[in-house]
């Protein structure tokens, strides 16, 4: 019996939705195998890793807290990735957003106004967008590679944070610790469920997903970004200016990362600290692809990625497994996803060829 792969004539909707699920299933099965090899009871291990962290409301709350920045940044980045603009400096844009948004909270430390939080949100978005505008300008003006410039600006942003937190932003009565003052209540995001850390930022992430979904599925902007990524010449043919797309997607992804940074400091952290993010800006790249660059998919992939963080911590604490297990999981997940992805464009056929006599002129292109 022969196994053959045939290109599909159009994308299979079922497979598009099914393939991430199959990938998760395979990851589960193979991780059990790995646990068994490590000499750990696979059932307990998988339970500790994937189920244990979300057996309580507090666990779910923590999951959403971790998923918030991943989803926000992941959706922002998806605009760039669809148009072949590779902003991998979201971590830096997040840092600057945290500084501009959080800076506002420190600047108006004594002001108790309902306008403070909205102003911080706007400042955070602006901060991230301005940081992303630098690679945008360099690319449009000098054709500089945005992968390099956006990445290098991550380190610049972290040095700026470092400088500010040890100088101007350091808490006056903080015993010289490199930390800012704790934000006032007016500068903190409201908590959604009492006794947990879940804050309004999660709502913002969901809201952003809905807007992005509308842009992608119905709006000409989403269409133009897709065309620019798939076929730059066709984009020009349809009147899209490549430079405008570059600006647009970098400002969107930078703004989203900036907002995520502001949310981190005004939500779970509550002050500006030397390390604001455990690499959300980079992990969000995986989240974006795992979620198929689709806003709804990114919500789920963001939650899944957040779960691997929680599960990694739990496995470390409860089972004394090394933290590298988290990385192994994330790697396996990506691997299986890429493998199942193949079936979105191809179908598998078993056995001998059907003797089709249709002249299927639409297929002739394959034969040439």
């Amino acid at each position: 019996m022969k196994i053959r792969f045939e290109p599909r004539q159009s994308e299979s909707k079922t497979v598009v939705f099914l393939s991430p699920l199959v990938a998760v299933l395979f990851t589960g099965l193979f991780s059990m195998l790995i646990f068994a090899i490590l000499g750990v009871d696979p059932i307990t291990a998988v339970y500790t890793f994937f189920i244990g962290p979300v057996t309580s409301i507090a666990g779910w709350a923590e999951l959403f807290v971790k998923a918030t920045p991943l989803v926000l940044i992941g959706i922002g980045l998806s605009f760039g990735f669809r148009s072949n603009i590779w902003n991998i400096g979201a971590e830096g844009q997040l840092t600057i957003g945290a500084l501009t948004g959080g800076g506002l909270a420190l600047l108006f430390y004594n002001v108790d106004s309902v306008f403070l939080l909205p102003a911080m949100i706007i400042a955070g978005i602006f901060g991230g967008a301005i940081w992303a505008a630098i690679p945008a300008f360099l690319r449009v003006r000098f054709n500089t590679n945005e992968i390099l410039t956006s990445l290098m600006l991550v380190y610049v942003a972290q040095l700026i944070l470092s400088y500010l937190i040890q100088g101007p932003m350091r808490a006056p009565d903080g015993y010289n610790f490199p930390e800012s003052r704790l934000f006032h209540d007016a500068a903190l995001l409201p908590t959604l469920i009492s006794e947990t850390r879940l804050h309004a930022g999660w709502i913002a992430a969901l809201f952003f997903a809905v807007i992005a979904w509308i842009l992608w599925s119905r709006h000409i902007i989403g269409f133009q970004v897709k065309v620019a990524g798939d076929a730059p010449l066709a984009a020009r043919f349809s009147g899209v200016r490549e430079k405008n797309v570059t600006w647009l997607v970098l400002l969107i992804s930078g703004g989203a990362a900036g907002l995520a940074g502001m949310i981190e400091v005004s939500g779970p952290i509550g002050q500006i600290v030397p390390i604001i993010s455990p690499g959300y800006g980079f992990t969000a790249i995986i989240v974006a692809f795992l979620g198929r660059l689709n806003p709804i998919g990114i919500i789920f992939s963001g939650m899944l990625m957040a779960l691997t963080y929680l599960g990694g911590d739990a496995a470390q604490i409860e089972m004394k497994l090394p933290n590298a297990v988290t990385g192994v999981f994330q790697g396996m997940l990506l691997f299986f996803l890429l493998a199942t992805d193949f079936f979105v464009k191809y179908r598998i056929r078993f056995g001998a060829l059907r003797e089709t006599q249709d002249n299927g002129s639409s297929k002739k292109g394959v034969v040439g």
């Binding site: 053959r4 045939e6 290109p7 004539q9 159009s10 994308e11 119905r218 709006h219 000409i220 902007i221 269409f223 897709k226 065309v227 798939d230 076929a231 010449l233 066709a234 020009r236 043919f237 349809s238 009147g239 056929r349 060829l353 089709t356 006599q357 249709d358 002249n359 299927g360 002129s361 639409s362 297929k363 002739k364 292109g365 394959v366 034969v367 040439g368």
Partner: protein, 514 residues
């Protein structure tokens, strides 16, 4: 040609592709010294067959004999060792290397070392293929580049030379030169398998023709005994319709004017446009002939607004200046464009057909309202295009990349023509399109002029231009000749213009130009 043994013989070659049989029990034999045409529409299975002969891929069943001995060829280098050479339609040359370096890359180690440039000069003199081994490829014309490929094959002393549509990029004069070379090779006993769908060439050159349709050999004939029409009918399996043109038509006022268009190309090795002037009247089809890479792409980009017009240049639509309008604004006032490249320029490969209608008809057909795409209107318009232009496809959700070249071209033409343009500008309308679809596309261009539209056709296919144009101009090195009424200029004169000779330099027949 009294030799009885065959150089190449194929028996019952069958090759399947998903959902289609590309070659169905193909039998064919080529005699020594024979120039054998392989004729068929796109998708008839010619390419699949020669790729099998050249060892690019295997067949599902069937046998191949080389000089009466059964052989199996599993890759191109084995084919070359056996004595089979092939010149592909798309050249594999490095622009930044010299002729000699390019040839050295594609041949065996032994040949490449020691006096290669002498051997190149010797072969090129022997067969009338003038070539300077030390020139860089980017300085050469397309015709000269093809000579490199031919010489590269000949250096390996092939006994069968396969040529895939070799004349599609050449001027009539260059074609004549190539034919001389091929006849000389044939006289020396080298067999040539000549793939083409240009019927006149096959009549002029070939001793025998094998005609394929839908993967099968439908006929073998002697081209001398056939007319081009009878061969076209065998190839298509049905009556051949040639476009009908109204005679003595009268033209209206000037619809499209180009004034002093200068534009520095932004393409690598592109051609700068220089002082281009042209007027097209209502109801008129103007053709622009020229060898590829002489400014055609640049001209289309300027006309479509994809790149801005250079200093002092002016484009007028009727009385209205459109010089500074962008692509979509030009579409809104009645201009439409068909670029040369279908996948990737005229259509997005990984998008459905209905999404591809949005690409150019978004605003002229009101498919986008206040920034939101109307899927209902887009699908309706897409279905209209599919029906009206007879596009073979399962429906509006099919990817553009799943359509064959000819079908996609019909779709793109339909999309543009059904927007009711006042001016349609097309580049290579029937490149790689089968004869039947090509005839329909040409007819639709002529029909368009009856609705008060003006059409500008930029093409390398001279027969096509002569068939549909009212006036013909020639572009060479970014300069455009005056447009001559089609009955006042001969193919030879167009050929000379294409080669860069000015009309004042050859005998003048009718200098009056409109």
């Amino acid at each position: 040609m009294q030799v009885t043994r065959t150089r190449l013989k194929l028996e019952n070659i069958t090759k399947h592709y998903p959902g289609i049989i590309a070659n169905d029990s193909v039998n064919m034999s080529v005699l020594p010294g024979e120039i054998h045409a392989l004729l068929g529409e796109n998708g008839a299975g010619k390419s699949t067959l020669v790729k099998f002969i050249y060892g690019v891929h295997g067949a599902d069943s069937g046998r191949m004999f080389w000089e009466d001995k059964e052989i199996q060829i599993s890759n191109p280098s084995e084919a070359r060792k056996t004595g089979i050479g092939m010149v592909f339609q798309h050249f594999s040359l490095f622009d930044a290397l010299t002729v000699e370096e390019n040839i050295a890359i594609g041949i065996s180690q032994e040949l490449a070392t020691g006096g290669l440039s002498d051997k190149i000069i010797q072969v090129s003199n022997q067969y009338g293929l003038p070539l300077d081994p030390s020139r860089y490829v980017y300085t050469l014309s397309v015709g000269e580049r093809q000579r490199i490929e031919v010489v590269r094959c000949l250096l390996q002393n092939p006994r069968l030379l396969i040529m895939d549509e070799p004349t599609s990029v050449l001027t009539p004069q260059e074609v004549e030169e190539l034919f001389k070379t091929l006849r000389r090779l044939s006289d020396e006993g080298i067999s040539i398998l000549y793939i083409s769908h240009k019927l006149q060439e096959i009549k002029d050159l070939c001793h025998k023709a094998t005609i394929m349709r839908n993967g099968k050999v439908v006929s073998e004939c002697n081209p001398d005994d056939e007319t081009t029409r009878s061969m076209a009918e065998m190839m298509m399996g049905k009556g051949f319709i040639s476009p009908e043109r109204r005679e003595n038509k009268s033209f209206g006022s000037t619809k499209l004017s180009l004034r002093n268009i200068n534009r520095v190309s932004h393409h690598q090795h592109g051609v700068d446009l220089a002082n281009i002037d042209l007027d097209i009247k209502t109801g008129e089809v103007v053709g622009i002939a020229g060898i590829a890479g002489n400014g055609q792409t640049e001209l289309l980009e300027v006309l479509s607004g994809e790149v801005p017009v250079g200093d002092e240049g002016i484009i007028l639509l009727g009385d209205r200046e459109v010089t500074n309008l962008n692509t979509n604004d030009r579409r809104k006032i009645g201009m439409a464009f068909v670029p040369e490249e279908r996948l990737g320029h005229g259509a997005v490969p990984n998008m459905s057909l209905w999404e591809n209608t949005v690409l150019s008809a978004a605003y002229s057909m009101d498919l986008v309202i206040r920034g939101f795409i109307s899927k209902v209107s887009s699908i309706a318009f897409c279905k209209h295009v599919i029906k009206k232009f007879n596009v073979h496809t399962p429906g509006p959700n099919t990817f553009a990349s799943a359509l064959s070249g000819g079908n996609l071209q019909k779709f793109i033409f339909g999309r543009e023509i059904l927007q009711n343009p006042q001016v349609l500008i097309v580049l290579q309308p029937t490149w790689g399109v089968d004869a039947g679809s090509a005839a329909r596309i040409r007819q639709s261009l002529i029909d368009l002029t009856e609705n008060e539209a003006a059409v500008l056709v930029i093409s390398q296919d001279l027969e096509e231009l002569l068939e549909i144009s009212d006036r013909i101009a020639v572009i060479h090195g970014g300069k455009l000749s005056p447009a001559y009424p089609v009955n006042e200029i001969t193919i030879e004169e167009i050929g000379l213009l294409m080669g860069g000779v000015k009309k004042s330099e050859f005998s003048i027949r009718g200098t009056n130009e409109n």
